[in-house]
Amino acid sequence: MSAVEQLTPPPAVAEPGPRRWRRVTGRMGLGGLLGIGGLLALVVVSAAGRFLTDPPQPDIEAIAQGPSGEHPLGTDFTGRDNLHLVVRGGWDMLELAFVAGFLMSAIALTAGLLGAYVGGAVDRIVVSFIDLWLTVPRFVLLLVIASLFPVSSTVALAALIAVFEWPYLARQIRAQALSLRRREYVEAARLLQLRGGHIMLRYLIPAIGPFVVISTIQAMNTAIYQQVGLAFFGLVPLEDNWGVLFSVAYSQNALYLPAAAWSLLVPVAAICLLQFCLVLASRSLEELFDPRLRGAR
């Protein structure tokens, strides 16, 4: 081994891009690639629909029709093209899922780490609050709040959902952090009195990060459910997103008109597709981050 080679950092860092990438993709498997690819495709298509097209116009000549050459996925009760609607309605859905997911993780991470690391009274308060919050029928409360204080934007709605759904995640993060605290190398870092920020950044977050990423994706799924539920009760800003499309179609009795059923099925299928991609992505990331697999490299 030459001196130059000796000084090159180990492969985990300096491995040439393509090879490393191939190894990562290899470990994610087909499902993971489908999930992440599907999510990217959804983002691109939804962005194009939102920013490059105008809202579809009602057409009283073509109300609640089945698929045809002109309208491949049929039309809704005002004669708007279902395909166009679903493409345009995705952005709002994604925005909500991402904002709510990240907010939820942020709140949960703060509360969970605070409880685990400050300990004592702070921990007791955090834990009691989480337990209390978990016993509340949150969706019903969310309905009440949303009807009392109508939310005007997607971001506001996402924030509301996040505030309601963080405790479960926070409890898991706290448990992880507590076990991490007793890990030998973390104890060694404490004995060496390394800076708190350093321990947080180089010891705790790398160990807990994968879990948080996966939970964030799952939180996105939760947010989608909540949003669809709220839309069903007509308590969300009418943005023509998939949840709203679904609930409007339902309220227009699309369930009972075979031709109009398309305006119901199309948004439901879109929601399912998004959730399916999220689940695939989170499962493959779980495998990717699995320490046993990481140890094997």
Binding site: Q6, E184, L192, H198, R202
Partner: protein
């Protein structure tokens, strides 16, 4: 010898469920002077690891006091306490769990150096290279760039020793520091640890379940034997091994020498061809302890 760190009548009890109180450490007193080695020997559950945690400050005792330079830790200001704690470092048992898997050796060693000595990047690197060379990881540039998973168990344990020495401690607690290493490399790690501590006048509390290892590491110093949370015998190493006073120490020594088994082995050296007699021979007492070839094996 001047006293550096001392435990005075220290106890540690845990409350398990409501009324059950478990005593892990029961009225233990011991003292360490600069450069002194004290081997703490005991079986699992004897309280030896709890003593180690109390000495490092990871666990607070429920009774008695810990003194550092003659001052009780409980009367120290926050600042003094931090300085005291930094002077007591730990080398742990499991070389696979004791290093952060996400940091290179250099990152692991540089953090405490830059944190506590206000060193420039270059000066800290120099100090790190010297430490790596001290623990036998040469060339330092090569090992500095490695991640823990690229090192063998013995190399990791050397890194852990180097890490504990970065902050120039006055006391080192080594808790089963070599028991997870392969036999063929234990000796070199132990010798390195001992030489480094002698050189730097660092006191060592060496915790082990293995009397033979304690004998090795603690030669010229002392061994304390723990049982059920108490120190049952604490004497200079050679005296304790040559003429143990407590019954428990004697039992441990006999087990370490496999005395009972030796006797049986001596019985078995009579040819086994006489199969019919083997059943009668099953309880082999009365024969003198084997001092044959097998006796040289330890």
């Amino acid at each position: 010898m001047s006293e550096l760190l001392a435990l005075e009548h220290v106890s540690k009890t845990y409350r398990q469920r409501r009324r059950v109180v478990v005593t892990a450490v029961d009225d233990v007193s011991l003292a360490l002077g600069p450069g002194e080695i004290l081997c703490l020997v005991g079986e699992s559950g004897s309280g030896k690891s709890t003593i180690g945690r109390i000495v490092t400050g990871l666990t607070a005792p429920t009774g008695g006091e810990v003194r550092h330079d003659g001052r009780s830790v409980s009367t120290m200001t926050r600042r003094e306490l931090r300085a005291h704690r930094l002077g007591v470092q730990l080398v742990q048992q499991d070389p696979f769990a004791s290093l952060n898997p996400g940091l290179t050796v250099a990152q692991t060693l540089l953090a405490p150096l830059t944190r506590h000595f206000g060193l420039s990047r270059a000066a800290a690197r120099e100090r790190m290279a010297a430490l790596l060379a001290d623990v036998g990881l040469t060339p330092p540039e090569l090992f500095g760039a490695k991640y823990p998973h690229e090192l063998s168990g013995g190399q990791r344990q050397r890194v852990a020793i180097a890490r504990s020495l970065t902050v120039e401690p006055r006391v080192l607690v080594a808790d089963e520091a070599v028991s997870m290493l392969d036999v063929s490399i234990r000796g070199s790690v132990l010798a390195k640890l001992r030489a480094l501590c002698e050189e730097r006048q660092v006191a060592v509390l060496f915790i082990t379940h293995d009397l033979a290892v304690a004998r090795q590491f603690g030669r010229g110093h002392s061994i304390a034997v723990m049982q059920h949370g108490r120190i049952v015998e604490h004497r200079p190493t050679s005296d304790l091994v040559a003429a143990p006073e407590h019954e428990y120490t004697r039992a441990l020594l006999a087990a370490a020498r496999h005395e009972g088994l030796r006797r049986r082995a001596a019985d078995r050296t009579t040819p086994r061809r006489r199969q019919d007699e083997q059943v009668d021979a099953q309880i082999g007492g009365g024969h003198p302890a084997g001092t044959g070839d097998a006796g040289r094996v330890q």
